[in-house]
C-alpha cells in the first residue's frame, strides 16, 4: 500500500513541478531560516549554561538611589558585600569576588606581550563556576597572595607549554606571580573570560591600609563583582530580603547623610547575558528583546511556509478529488486516504528537509558573516541541531499535512465523479484567512525592517556634538614609571612636529566607551549633603576640548593661561541641569565639592554623545589633570595617514619602550558600538526578505489555482463582452481585499512592537506614517506582480479554448 502511496505522491510531485517546487522550496527556505535563527537564539541562551551549579549561582547587582530616585544601576557592588552577606545569611553556601583590572605586560623573548582580560578572583572561583582547570587544585589555586591562574593559550604564548604550574611570572609594575593553575580557554558563551586570573588575596594585600582597613570591610568603595552560590533549596527572594539590614549596618549611616541609599538584588547567572546592561559589566551583553524578536521572525518564516503547503494542498484538492472519488468507489476507507495524503506531506517535508540541509551548507558562512556568531559546520554533529531539525520536520508534517489530508479525504465520490465538486466556502474562507496571515506577517516584518534600518541610519548620521573624524587614538602605555608625565608631554611635542598631526590630547577615556569613572557626592558648596548627586567624569588635559571641538555654551575651556586649572571643571549641559541650573551662564563661577576638593565651574559644553545613541546623555564633568594617564588622541590633517602612523610608532617606541603601540581610528571604533545593531538589522532584513519570498511563492501558487478555477468563468465573461482590464480587476479584487485586511491587522501590532523596540534607544527616530504606508505599498506591488503572472495569462486566454476544455 505504501508503495502505491509513494508512487502516486512522487508522480504527482513530478507532474506538477511548479507546485512541487513552490512547496518544497518554500518549506526548505522556511526550515533553513528557522534553523539558522534558532541556533543563533540557542547560542544566546546558552550563556553560562555549562556551569554545573548554574541554578544556584546569582550575581549581586546594585541599585543606587539619590533622594529616593533610582540614579544608577551597577553590575558591581561594594567589596564588603560577599563576605558580609555570607557571614550573616546561612542560605549562602559560598561567594566569589571578581575584580576587573587593566591589561598587563609580560616579557617573552625580550619582547613585550600584552595580556588582556585580567581579573582578581577569590579562591572559590573554580569551585563555584565550572571553568575547567587543567593544572592546579581547584580548592586552593587562588588561595595565596601573588599567585595566579592563566589560560592555556596565555601559558603557551608565554612559556611555550601549558604545564607551567610553579613557574614565576614577572609582570609590568614590578610584581611577580607564581602560577598555581592553568585553565582551559574560556568558552565564548560566558561573560567572564579571563586570560590572567590573579588571587583576590593579592588585591587585598595591595589595598590594605596601614590602619588595617581592607577591601573586605569596604562598603563605600565599589567595583567588585560578587557572585553567590546559594544552598540547595534556598529561596533567592528570601535571601534577597535579608540584604537590607546588612547593608544598613555597613553603609546606611553614611548614605543617609547624602540622602542616598543602595539596594542589592540577586540576578540569576543565566539571565545576565540577555537581561543585564548595567554599569561596570565585565563584558557587553546581548539584548533579550532582540533575541525574542528574532525568534518571532523564525517562526513567521516557517509558519508562512507551512501555510503555503496548506493553501496549495487544499486549493489543489479539486485536482485530486477525482482520484479520491475513484479510490473510495473501489474500496478505499477514509482513514486510508488520510494516511495517503498525510504521507504526501511527509514526502514533501522530507524532500524540503534534504534541500534545507543543502541550503544550510551554502548559507552557513553567509549567516556567520551577518550574524557575527561563531557558527561552524560542527553544527551538523550537534545533537541539538538534529533535534531541532526533527522537531521542525515533525511539526511541519503534522501542521501542514493533517488539515489538507482531512479535507481531501472528505470528498464524496458521487459528487466528485460527476464533476459537481466546487470549493467549499469554509475551505475558501480558511485559505483567505491564511493568506491574510501571510500578508500581515510579511507586512509586519517589512515595517520592522524599515524601522530598524531607519534607526541604525539615524544613529550613524546623527551629529555626535563633537568631532571624531580623522582622529587616531593610541592606547595608553602599561609599563610606566614616575617619568610618565614628562614622557607624555615629550611625546605630544614630538608628534606635533609632524605636519600631518594637527592636535594631540590625553584623556582618561575617549568617546565611544562608557565613562568608567563615576563620582558620587557631587554638590554645590551652597547645597547640603542631602542634595549631592552622581556624575560621570573624565580626566582631560588642556587640549581635549579643543581637539574634539566640543561646543562651549557658557564660560571657557581649560587653558594654561589660567594657572591653577586643576581645581577647575567643565560641565556638560545635562550636568549643570542636574546641579539645578537652567541657564548655563548661571553655573559659571559656582563652586562644587568634588570628593572633598573645592572646584570651580569655568565652562559648560553642549551635551555630546560619549556613547552610542542607545544611551542617554550622562551628567558629565570634565576635570583637568595635566598628569592624566590615558589615551592619546591625535587629530590629523589630510593625507599621509600610513606615514603618520609609522612616525607615531617610532616616537612611541622612543618614549615608551617596552610598550606595545596599539591604535585605532576613533570614528571606526565609535561605529563599532553599532555593530550589534547593524548585525541585527542585517539578520532582520535578510529573514524578512526570505519570509516575503516564501509568502510570494505561496501567493503565486494560489493565484495560479484561482486563475485555473475561474477559467470557465473568465471564458464566459469574455464571450459576454468583458474586457481584459475588467477581468484583471475581477481577479485582483480578490487579493486586494485580503491585503487591506492584512494591513489593518499588521499596523497596530507593528506599531506597538517597533515602538517598544525603539524605547531601548535613548535617541530614536519618531514614528512616521511612511514607515507603514511604504511597506504596504511594497507588499501591494510585490503581490500584484506575483499574482499578475498567472492572472494576465488567464485574462488573455482564448475563451473558446477554456470553454471547450470545460
Amino acid at each position: 500500500m505504501f508503495k502505491n502511496y509513494l508512487k502516486i505522491a512522487w508522480r504527482n510531485l513530478i507532474k506538477n513541478k511548479v507546485y512541487s517546487w513552490i512547496n518544497i522550496g518554500g518549506l526548505a527556505i522556511g526550515i533553513v531560516a528557522c534553523l539558522l535563527i534558532l541556533q543563533y537564539v540557542v547560542f544566546e541562551f546558552s550563556y553560562e549554561d555549562f556551569h554545573v551549579k548554574k541554578e544556584r549561582i546569582y550575581r549581586v547587582q546594585q541599585n543606587r538611589y539619590d533622594n529616593g530616585k533610582l540614579a544608577t544601576q551597577w553590575a558591581a557592588g561594594a567589596y564588603a558585600v560577599g563576605n558580609s552577606f555570607k557571614e550573616a545569611i546561612p542560605e549562602i553556601e559560598e561567594y566569589v569576588k571578581v575584580v576587573e583590572t587593566g591589561d598587563i605586560i609580560v616579557e617573552v623573548n625580550n619582547r613585550p606581550l600584552k595580556i588582556k582580560e585580567v581579573y582578581f578572583a577569590t579562591n572559590s572561583f573554580f569551585d563555584v563556576f565550572s571553568y575547567p582547570l587543567i593544572y592546579g587544585d581547584s580548592k586552593s589555586v587562588l588561595n595565596e597572595p601573588n599567585t595566579a591562574a592563566i589560560s592555556e593559550t596565555t601559558a603557551v604564548k608565554i612559556f611555550g607549554t601549558n604545564d607551567v604550574v610553579g613557574k614565576n611570572l614577572p609582570i609590568s609594575g614590578n610584581r611577580t606571580y607564581k602560577i598555581t593553575g592553568v585553565f582551559k580557554d574560556m568558552p565564548i558563551n560566558t561573560q567572564l573570560r579571563p586570560d590572567f586570573l590573579a588571587s583576590y588575596a593579592t588585591y587585598v594585600g595591595m589595598n590594605t591600609n596601614e590602619d588595617g582597613s581592607s577591601p573586605e570591610d569596604a562598603w563605600a568603595w565599589d567595583g567588585c563583582l560578587t557572585y553567590l552560590l546559594l544552598q540547595r533549596g534556598a529561596d533567592p527572594t528570601q535571601v534577597e530580603a535579608k540584604f537590607a539590614p546588612i547593608v544598613e549596618e555597613g553603609v546606611g549611616e553614611l548614605l543617609k547623610r547624602f540622602n542616598a541609599s543602595v539596594e542589592y538584588r540577586l540576578q540569576p547567572l543565566t539571565n545576565i547575558h540577555l537581561d543585564a546592561n548595567y554599569m561596570m559589566e565585565p563584558a557587553p551583553n546581548s539584548d533579550g528583546k532582540t533575541i525574542y524578536l528574532l525568534l518571532g521572525i523564525a517562526f513567521f518564516v516557517i509558519i508562512i511556509a507551512w501555510v503555503n503547503y496548506i493553501n496549495l494542498a487544499t486549493a489543489r484538492a479539486i485536482g485530486r478529488a477525482k482520484e479520491v472519488g475513484i479510490r473510495k468507489t473501489i474500496g478505499s476507507k477514509r482513514t486510508q486516504l488520510i494516511i495517503q495524503f498525510f504521507f504526501e506531506s511527509v514526502l514533501f517535508n522530507g524532500l524540503a528537509l534534504l534541500l534545507a540541509l543543502l541550503l544550510m551548507l551554502i548559507a552557513l558562512p553567509f549567516f556567520t558573516k551577518i550574524s557575527g556568531q561563531p557558527v561552524s559546520y560542527d553544527l551538523f554533529i550537534d545533537a541539538k541541531f538534529w533535534f531541532g531539525l526533527t522537531a521542525l520536520f515533525v511539526s511541519g508534517v503534522v501542521l501542514s499535512g493533517l488539515y489538507p489530508a482531512i479535507v481531501i479525504s472528505r470528498f464524496r465520490p458521487v459528487e466528485v465523479l460527476k464533476g459537481q465538486m466546487g470549493t467549499t466556502s469554509q475551505g475558501a474562507l480558511l485559505r483567505k484567512g491564511l493568506v491574510v496571515f501571510q500578508f500581515a506577517a510579511s507586512l509586519f516584518l517589512l515595517i520592522g525592517s524599515l524601522v530598524v534600518y531607519q534607526q541604525i541610519q539615524f544613529m550613524r548620521d546623527q551629529s555626535l556634538g563633537i568631532d571624531i573624524d580623522r582622529t587616531l587614538v593610541i592606547k595608553p602605555p602599561i609599563a610606566t614609571d614616575s617619568t610618565f608625565t614628562s614622557q607624555k608631554l615629550a611625546l605630544k611635542e614630538s608628534l606635533l612636529k609632524y605636519p600631518a598631526v594637527k592636535k594631540v590630547a590625553v584623556s582618561s577615556i575617549v568617546p565611544g566607551e562608557g565613562p568608567g569613572d563615576n563620582a558620587g557626592g557631587i554638590r554645590l558648596l551652597t547645597q547640603d549633603d542631602s542634595e549631592q548627586k552622581q556624575y560621570r567624569f573624565i580626566y582631560v588635559d588642556y587640549d581635549f576640548l579643543n581637539l574634539y571641538d566640543a561646543e562651549l555654551i557658557a564660560g571657557r575651556g581649560f587653558s594654561e593661561d589660567f594657572g591653577a586649572e586643576r581645581v577647575n571643571v567643565v560641565f556638560n549641559r545635562k550636568g549643570i541641569e542636574q546641579l539645578g541650573f537652567d541657564d548655563p551662564e548661571e553655573a559659571i563661577g559656582k563652586q562644587i565639592d568634588f570628593w572633598g576638593e573645592q572646584c570651580t565651574i569655568v565652562g559648560v559644553i553642549e551635551n555630546f554623545h560619549q556613547q552610542s545613541l542607545r544611551e542617554a546623555y550622562d551628567p558629565l564633568i570634565l576635570r583637568l589633570n595635566p598628569d592624566v594617564y590615558g589615551y592619546f588622541s591625535v587629530k590629523m590633517g589630510a593625507g599621509q595617514i600610513t606615514q603618520t602612523i609609522a612616525q607615531a610608532q617610532t616616537e612611541w617606541n622612543t618614549f615608551f619602550p617596552g610598550n606595545t603601540f596599539e591604535y585605532f581610528f576613533l570614528d571606526e571604533k565609535f561605529n563599532d558600538q553599532y555593530k550589534a545593531d547593524h548585525r541585527f538589522g542585517q539578520v532582520f532584513g535578510v529573514f524578512t526578505l526570505l519570509a516575503i519570498f516564501v509568502a510570494c511563492l505561496g501567493l503565486f501558487g494560489l493565484a495560479s489555482f484561482t486563475a485555473l478555477q475561474r477559467k470557465r468563468e473568465i471564458g464566459i465573461r469574455k464571450v459576454l463582452g468583458a474586457s481584459i482590464p475588467g477581468i484583471l480587476g475581477l481577479l485582483y479584487n480578490e487579493f486586494a481585499l485580503l491585503l487591506v485586511i492584512a494591513f489593518g491587522i499588521a499596523i497596530p501590532i507593528a506599531a506597538f512592537t517597533t515602538s517598544r523596540w525603539l524605547q531601548g534607544y535613548a535617541f530614536r527616530i519618531d514614528m512616521h506614517w511612511s514607515y507603514f504606508v511604504l511597506p504596504f505599498l511594497a507588499i501591494v506591488l510585490i503581490a500584484l506582480v506575483t499574482v499578475s503572472f498567472q492572472t494576465i495569462k488567464a485574462a488573455m486566454a482564448n475563451p473558446v479554448k477554456s470553454l471547450r476544455t470545460e
Partner: protein, 231 residues
Amino acid sequence: MIQIQNLKKSFRTEEVETLALNKVNLSVEEGEFAAIMGPSGCGKSTLLNIIGMLDNPTEGSYKFAGHEVGGLKERQRTELRKGNLGFVFQSFNLIDELTVFENVELPLIYLKENKSSRKEKVMKVLERMKIAHRAKHFPHQLSGGQQQRVAIARAVVTNPKLILADEPTGNLDSKNGLEVMNLLTELNQEGTTIVMVTHSDHDSHFAHRIINLFDGQIVTESKNRAIGAII
C-alpha cells in the same frame, strides 16, 4: 440480488428541495442485465449511485444480497462494496498518475491481496480485455476505447457480483462503444449481474430488461428480446 422498495431520494438546497427519486420499487435478479433509461434529470444516475452504495436513500429500503444497505454508514458501505461491486463510468475515471496495470491493481490492494496474486489477476484480466500490451502505459497515452477497456478490467478484476455501468459508451465512437457493450454482455453471460444507465436505445437492447424512469419514478419496465438481432 437487488431489492428496492419505496425508495426516495431528495436533495435539499437552502431554498428548494428536489425529489430525485420517488417511491421507486425495483428488483434485479442475479445474472440479470438491466438497463435504466430516461431523459436527463430523471434520476437514473441517482438510482445507480444508491445501488452502488455511493449514496444513501432518503427513505425506503434497499437490500443488496439480502443485506439492508439503506442506513449503513460510509465505512460499512465501503466494506460491503469492496469485491462485490464494480463500476464503469462514462468518463472512465482512471487515476491519471497510475499506469494501466496499477489502476487495475488498485481494488486488489484495497482487498489486501498479495503481490503475486494481484499480478496474476491483473494480467489475466488485461489479456482478456486485450489491453495487456499497454499495461505500463498511463491513461492519457490510450484511446478512449482502450481507457474504457481498462476501466472495465478494473471493475471486474475482483470478480464482483454486480457491475454498475453509468453510460459506459457515452464518450466513445460507435466501434469502440460496440466493443464495450460486447464485453459487458460477455461478462453477463458468465454470470455477472449488470445494471447500466444509458441514453442510448442501441445499448439498451443489450440488456435483458429496460427500466424507464421519468421524474424520479419508474414508468415502464420491458423485457428485451432483440439482443441477437443487434449483435
